[in-house]
Symmetry: C2
Subunit: 158 residues, 2 copies
């Protein structure tokens, strides 16, 4: 080990919640991301977006997800002995994210288990609920985070 971290596998306990503040998305940021990665008219063209079923520019769902990843990084992941992730499940875009919306997130630890194949690794299933400034749920997802164990030899906490 070359560095010490604040969070190891053992620091994530089922039921633990963390409230995370996020940024306000500007129209320029929304259009810039979507122009590169998701140039559908309702993400990049204000006039066409007005005439679409969304009645105005909305953020690409992948932009919202990427911004949430940055919120996760800043809140705990960059201080954690992270070993990456194998994926996410049930990523849901429930409500449009519009220019001027300010995001906030609640992270919940759903379950944890030690890896059967890598004794130095633990697996944490997280849930992330993402809200706008009106407390509307705009996105939710569950997914797995892989973390180094602080005490690889010890039995997992119950």
């Amino acid at each position: 080990m070359t560095a010490d971290f604040r969070y190891y596998f053992e620091d994530f306990e089922p039921g633990h919640m963390m409230e995370i503040e996020g940024p306000t998305l500007t129209e320029a940021e929304i259009v810039e991301f979507a122009s590169k990665f998701d140039p559908q008219p309702f993400h990049v063209d204000a006039e066409k977006a007005k005439r679409s079923i969304y009645h105005g520019i909305i953020a690409s769902g992948w932009h919202t997800a990427a911004v949430c990843m940055r919120m996760i990084c800043d809140a705990y992941l960059l201080d954690a002995a992270s070993m990456g992730s194998s994926g996410v499940d049930q990523l849901r875009w429930l409500h449009p994210v519009r220019p001027g919306d300010k995001l906030a997130m609640r992270m919940t630890v759903l379950e944890t288990k030690t890896s059967t194949t890598r004794p130095t690794m633990g697996i944490v299933r997280h849930r992330w609920d993402v809200f706008n400034q009106n407390q509307e749920l705009v996105m939710e997802m569950t997914g797995v985070g892989l973390y180094r164990r602080r005490n690889p030899g010890a039995p997992a906490a119950a």
Copy 2:
């Protein structure tokens, strides 16, 4: 309706596959995306990445997903009467994507059904398998696309 599209709901049939060529990712692009959205050391710092479990810089999984969204846009979505998406399931990052990797994708239509609440809309469940230049499966996901029906009054094709 203000525009005609090449693809409507009726044009997606279960079992239909489409092979889609993608771009080669450069280290500069990988680091630029991750610096904004996912600044974990193995995404942004070549030296630290070398010493990580990945033995070198790898793309953020969200970057890979965003690039795939662009591939989907260019291959069919911008020519489709798209009404957005409610989300994706089982997004899996199976193999690291590294600088110099060239992506390719296979889209498969899994199932289709008309909306019970919106008679003008159809729901298509897609699967996207993403490969690198060595035919290694690097990412897979399934998800829903919402499309306008060409003939809203007609019964759905069996």
